[in-house]
């Protein structure tokens, strides 16, 4: 039998270990940032087997940026969720958190199709358990996600099976030299892979699992998931559309689906009273913004990537922080009698983040929307532009409604000096980020 003291020591060690490893990941990602220039890449061979035979990790210019962003979001959510210390089995949760994080990172840097599948399943299985632990409703919705997520993974596996059948290779860059896109079976295989990704990042008809999971699961896990999960699959779609499916014309389909879903969600957003549901629907809207950008980007890895990257980081950071605050905010909106006991800083920070989400000037949300609009105008994409402005307007009206219901609570109370310092600090960070993004693109 292990004594209670020893268990406590194990807990401390595991927590420190995870903390340190996430910091190491961030440092390595930053190191990649310094080392790789625009058209270069770093390649790793595993087990002494060179590329077509063995597994290869290949890191390009966009991969390093996304890897850096993922480690930052993991670091951020891990610290601000208080190391998951208040949960019952927090040791297991920490380990699952780390496993799913490794899975998502691996998917981005791997250049081997089957290796990507294995990382996908590692991340997904850890995510199913993470989403399901908190309460019975979360458990049920995580089960729904398990079924539909496994179907998606199987579709992906079937796709790479057919590609392996016709090319005899699993390395993406080796396949490119052998693939023949006139073959109908290759087209079907690509369709299977794309459907798998569509289910995983919750594109329009397959989005219901994400709504249920995000509303009922533990808000700290959802913060991590909303920042990372859908972004990874969107990025993989972008990457594949640039190398593996470069000769396939999927842009029209992507555009059509995203326009339809933007119109649907801009109506759907007014039919809810729950704060978390609002966040989820705005996530759907942002996923479709990213889909529209992917459909208009030129088919060359890295060109005009900054517009996509700014959209991904702004939305990921914004949603992760809003989901971390969402539990408090739900209480504010429902039970106003508790208000005297709780600090006002989170509610004001949430208002600032909501303004950023709606695209208020000076904040990062405005930067990403500005570049999105200007990029689409240069491409003459008027229908997409109409759909995006419709959805933005819907989000803006909803945000103003929400702030309207939150403002009377703030105005009644005095705010302490410590709270003011944290609020001002946070706002300055957001403004500096926005200015930095402006400098990055222009």
């Amino acid at each position: 039998m292990i004594k209670l003291k020893e268990i406590n020591i194990f807990r401390k060690i595991s927590m420190n270990y995870i903390f340190i490893s996430i910091i190491f990941c961030s440092c390595f990602a930053f190191f990649f940032n310094l080392k790789i220039d625009n058209n270069e890449y770093i390649s790793y061979f595993l087990g002494g087997w060179e590329a077509p035979n063995g597994i290869e990790f290949r890191i390009y210019f966009p991969d390093k940026l996304i890897a850096c962003f993922l480690s930052f979001i993991a670091f951020f959510t891990f610290i601000f969720s208080g190391f998951f210390r208040k949960t019952a089995q927090y040791m297991a949760i920490n380990i699952l958190f780390l496993i799913s994080f490794i899975g998502y990172l691996g998917m981005i840097i791997s250049a081997d199709l089957f290796n990507i599948y294995v990382f996908l399943e590692i991340a997904s299985i850890a995510t199913y358990s993470l989403l399901g632990y908190s309460n019975k409703r979360a458990n049920f919705s995580a089960f729904e996600y398990l079924i539909i997520g496994s179907i998606a993974a199987c579709f992906y596996l079937l796709g790479i099976g057919i590609i392996y059948m016709y090319t005899g290779s699993l390395n993406i860059f080796d396949i490119l030299s052998r693939i023949n896109f006139d073959n109908i079976n290759i087209k079907i295989a690509s369709l299977f892979i794309i459907i798998g990704f569509f289910i995983k990042f919750a594109a329009f008809p397959m989005h219901i699992w994400m709504r249920n999971c995000y509303i009922f699961a533990d808000h700290r896990i959802v913060a991590f998931m909303s920042g990372i999960s859908s972004k990874v699959f969107l990025y993989l779609l972008y990457k594949f559309s640039n190398n593996l499916f470069a000769d396939l014309d999927i842009n029209i389909a992507l555009n059509f689906i995203s326009i339809l879903s933007l119109i649907y969600f801009s109506i759907r957003i007014f039919k809810n009273n729950n704060f978390k549901e609002f966040l989820v629907i705005s996530s759907f809207i942002n996923i479709n913004y990213i889909l529209i950008i992917i459909s208009y980007l030129p088919k060359e890895l890295g060109t005009d990537f900054k517009i996509l990257f700014i959209q991904i980081i702004n939305h990921g950071f914004n949603k992760a922080s809003l989901f971390l605050l969402s539990n408090n905010l739900d209480k504010y909106l429902k039970l106003s009698k508790w208000l005297n006991k709780i600090s006002m800083a989170p509610i004001i920070i949430a208002i600032i983040l909501l303004l950023s989400l709606a695209g208020f000037p000076l904040f990062p949300g405005f930067t990403s929307k500005f570049y999105l609009f200007s990029y689409l105008i240069t491409k003459n994409a008027w229908i997409s532009l109409f759909a995006i402005s419709l959805a933005s307007l819907a989000v803006f009206i909803k945000v103003i409604n929400l702030i309207n219901s939150l403002l009377p609570i703030i105005l009644e109370r005095e705010v302490k000096i410590g709270e003011i310092i944290s609020i001002v600090g946070f706002t300055i960070i957001l403004i500096i980020t926005a200015i930095g993004e402006f400098l990055l693109v222009s």
Partner: protein, 126 residues
């Protein structure tokens, strides 16, 4: 025309079996009301893809890929088989997580019917 199709079927019957299993699995996941049956159909669905991969690796008159140091031997392709070993483990892990979730669902709701659970949830949350 027809003899061609029959010939094709006879040569590639294993792919047709895998397609049929695939469709049975997908159909079962969609129409079954019981969660455990849904999970079982997911298992069938995954096995269909395993079969599809392993069928690729078989070469006519090919033997098990173990080195025999003799001339004129055709080996079957070992790569898909090795890949499927990994996929089997992954499928097993998914199914075991699913079964543990079903165990909890049965404890919480005292039923495994998808419709009934949805009705209970609709009563609570609206």
């Amino acid at each position: 025309m027809i003899p061609d199709i029959i010939n094709n079927l006879a040569q590639n019957y294993i792919y047709f079996i895998s397609i049929i299993l695939f469709l049975i699995g997908l159909w079962g996941i969609i129409i079954n009301d019981n969660l455990l049956k849904k999970l079982l159909c997911l298992g069938i669905f995954q096995n269909a893809i395993l079969l599809f991969f392993v069928a690729q690796s078989k070469i006519k008159n090919g033997i098990v890929p173990m080195i025999k140091f003799e001339d004129n031997i055709t080996y079957s392709n070992p790569v898909p088989q090795v890949l499927m070993l990994t996929a089997i483990v992954v499928a097993l892990a998914t199914l075991s997580v699913g079964i543990s979730m079903i165990f909890k669902i049965k404890k919480n709701y005292n039923t495994l019917s998808y419709k009934k659970i949805k009705e209970i949830e609709a009563g609570i949350y609206q």
